[in-house]
Assembly symmetry: C2
Homo-oligomer: 449 residues x 2
């Protein structure tokens, strides 16, 4: 396999000609061509290396040899569909089950987080025999038609809000309606869901499900306040709905201390359905829905087969098993805790130095740095954030990106082998760029950069 | 990679415990455990080989070494997302473009036929700014919520027909409303779509798209009458809609004479959107939507990014390219024509001998054998079909399966390396089983087998 067949300008020209323009490029003004990668490093066609702070999909590191080996070995042997009996699918389900509360024990394997969330919606609606869904503001659950409907991040720009979709406030204690000074933000935000459900019921409607990312990502790398999920689950269930935790971005140990993001909400909390995706196959299209026996049985009771052509095939499951092995063997959860804590500490120190840093938050290797032009008003410093991203790429060959409704949150979701030294470097570079912004009194927010 | 880790009974027990029961097993009363495969042969845990007549996904043959090699080589080098520039995605799009009419030139890569059809629906609806869709009776376009809505095969058993979905008769010239004795069945069936569109318009509704599999599969391995697509496209376009050809089951040379099933309908016909999937990655989750510049531009004009996490990644595209190479190098289209024609000829000879064979149809390695209890009335011989499937498995280790609204059509969609000798064997075995049915005067249709 050649690293490069075309000159970069030809690749770009063909890309513009052949691929839908809705599929955007990173750094669209000066896109990067990556031909090789290893661990947390990307290499362009000239051999220049980039430190990758954003590829959460390549969870155990780019091109991990254990993953390639497992994939190739199974590809040589067998790759068929799940209508035949095979060990890999059951061994993999069993391994995943051991990371989850006992109640979550029935698995459906699919090919993407979007397919997983679509199936979760079907499961919830079939089980409850209801349609309505409550979602968090700014949520993104996938690119499929059904998921655009339940993703405020998308539907606000597209078809608009359907009558069966209801949006609860994002429990963002930095920028939301209840903030860090509130005595009990978890309860307060949960109450907004309670009141929303009451409003829904007053309209004569009934909720089927509450969907939430365990740590809202597109919403701005949000860590939910303690107690929120437990309380919400109580309200949702007493209204007859089910709780769906979307772990597509956050699962598989990214938060370090726990295997799943929802587990940060305490041992007493267990979702009814969990969806998983991105990091699951380290880049291989692999995703999953797990649910309770009761919900699975309601789905079976409709008498209709669920067949997913590629879902749960022996190769996908072999890769999934290899990813779990590497997470354990290399103690990547421990690394996420150590490096994530270090990164957050360094960023907090930086916050003392640079007024533009409004908030530093995160758990494990899921970290957000929110930039503001005014700490009091918390005005989003969107252009400054874009400027930092651009300069980190151009001057330091570091890939970061932004998130949040105002694109002012620098996000860090690197491969889980990200090191302490990597964290030191990134923070040092951000420090230099922010110092430069201040020293030169750059009024980025007023300029067209 | 061990071929087998668990005893078969343990695999089955774990499967029943851990995997949703809606995910059904082949031969559910006595499922087969397959641990290895090569070409058109499957091997169980005891080394017993099965001739595979149904794995249309493993298009160039199970575990083709060229595919494994391409996958492993690219996995070692790089697997990232399509937001970075990479040669594979553009080289692959370019290769696919060379198989298609010039007008179909903008590509979107996704992970499954279902994701492809969902995106096709979004493209059509965005382009036309309309919602309504016309589909063929008994059609199946995928397992996602949006696709169940446009799949009569599924929605009749589930949520029912939505007001924006309209069902046209399946152009089945053996069993449909116009049959082989009609002077112009293509025109006659196209007229049913014309009249349906008029009815839709009389209700004040406007159609966005006509969706059809180029050869309806679940509908019963149907070969559409000549001229049907051209005429339908004319009516659909003059009503402001677009034509979507679903090639998820039928593309990549399965029909032998052409690369795409829709091309059987003549050179003057070109769809507005084509979706592809199953055989594309020889088992790797890979699928695609191709459309016109105009439709792609309308999609871009909404200003919203389309990002598919795994879609078009370097490994998927390397595998896709390798599949195209093998189709060419091994002349698999030529083989599909030769072996498919031979198989159909043999089955037609069998038809002269066995009254239970009502129809033999197909193109290339897409062949259907329709069983009936009464040739005049064409009464579906559903139980006989199930009996043949069961005996072929038990006595001859041949895997075939049934399709069609009455599950009385034996389907043949083998890997494209299926040989003349394989065809001889299958037909000989079917002959023996049908002779046995007649000789023993088995009244299968009246019994609970």
């Amino acid at each position: 396999m050649a690293e490069e067949t075309l000159k970069k300008e030809d690749t770009l020209a063909m890309r513009l000609k052949l691929i839908g323009q809705s599929c955007r490029l990173f750094y669209s003004e000066d896109p990067v061509k990556i031909v090789r990668a290893r661990g947390q490093y990307l290499f362009d066609e000239n051999g220049k290396s980039y430190l990758d702070c954003i590829s959460n999909v390549q969870h155990v590191g780019h091109c991990h040899p254990a993953i390639t080996k497992a994939a190739a070995a199974q590809m040589e042997l067998l790759n068929t569909n799940s209508r035949f009996l095979h060990d890999n699918i059951v061994l993999y389900a069993d391994r995943l089950a051991s990371t989850l509360p006992e109640k979550l024990c029935i698995f459906y394997f699919v090919n993407s987080g979007s397919e997983a969330n679509d199936l979760a919606l079907r499961l919830a609606q079939q089980h409850t025999q209801r349609e309505d869904v409550v979602v968090l503001d700014h949520a993104y659950h996938g690119h499929l038609k059904s998921l655009i409907d339940i993703s405020p991040y998308k539907f606000r720009k597209l078809a608009g809000q359907k009558e069966w979709v209801h949006v609860a406030p994002l429990p963002d204690i930095y920028r939301g309606i209840y903030r860090e000074d509130h005595p009990s933000p978890g309860q307060a935000y949960a109450d907004t869901v309670k009141h929303l459900i009451e409003e829904i019921q007053q309209k004569g409607r009934k909720i089927s499900a509450f969907f939430a990312e365990s740590l809202p990502s597109v919403g701005g790398q949000i860590v939910l306040p303690k107690g929120y999920f437990s309380k919400v689950a109580e309200y949702v269930r007493s209204a007859g709905g089910v709780f769906v935790a979307d772990e597509v971005q956050t699962g598989f140990g990214r938060v370090g201390s726990h295997f799943w993001g929802f587990q940060l909400q305490g041992e007493d909390f267990c979702p009814d359905i969990v969806t998983m995706g991105k990091p699951m196959g380290n880049g291989h299209p692999l995703a999953c829905v797990v649910t309770t026996k009761e919900i699975a049985e309601a789905f079976t009771a409709n008498g209709v087969e669920y067949f997913n052509t590629f879902g749960g095939n022996p190769v996908s499951c072999a890769i999934g098993l290899a990813v779990l092995d590497v997470i354990e063997k290399e103690d990547l959860r421990g690394n996420a805790t150590r490096v994530g804590t270090h990164l957050k500490d360094l960023l907090k120190k930086l916050q003392a130095k640079h007024d533009v840093i409004g908030d530093v938050r995160g758990v494990g290797l899921f970290v957000g740095l929110e930039l503001v032009t005014d700490r009091e008003r918390r005005t989003p410093a969107t252009k400054t954030a874009a400027w930092v991203v651009k300069r980190l790429k151009e001057e330091d060959q570091i890939c970061v990106s932004t998130d949040g409704p105002w694109d002012n949150v620098l996000k860090f979701k690197p491969p889980m082998c990200f090191s302490l030294e990597n964290a030191d470097l990134v923070v040092r570079c951000i420090d230099r760029i922010l110092t430069d912004v201040t020293a030169n009194d750059l009024k980025l927010e007023n300029e067209d950069i």
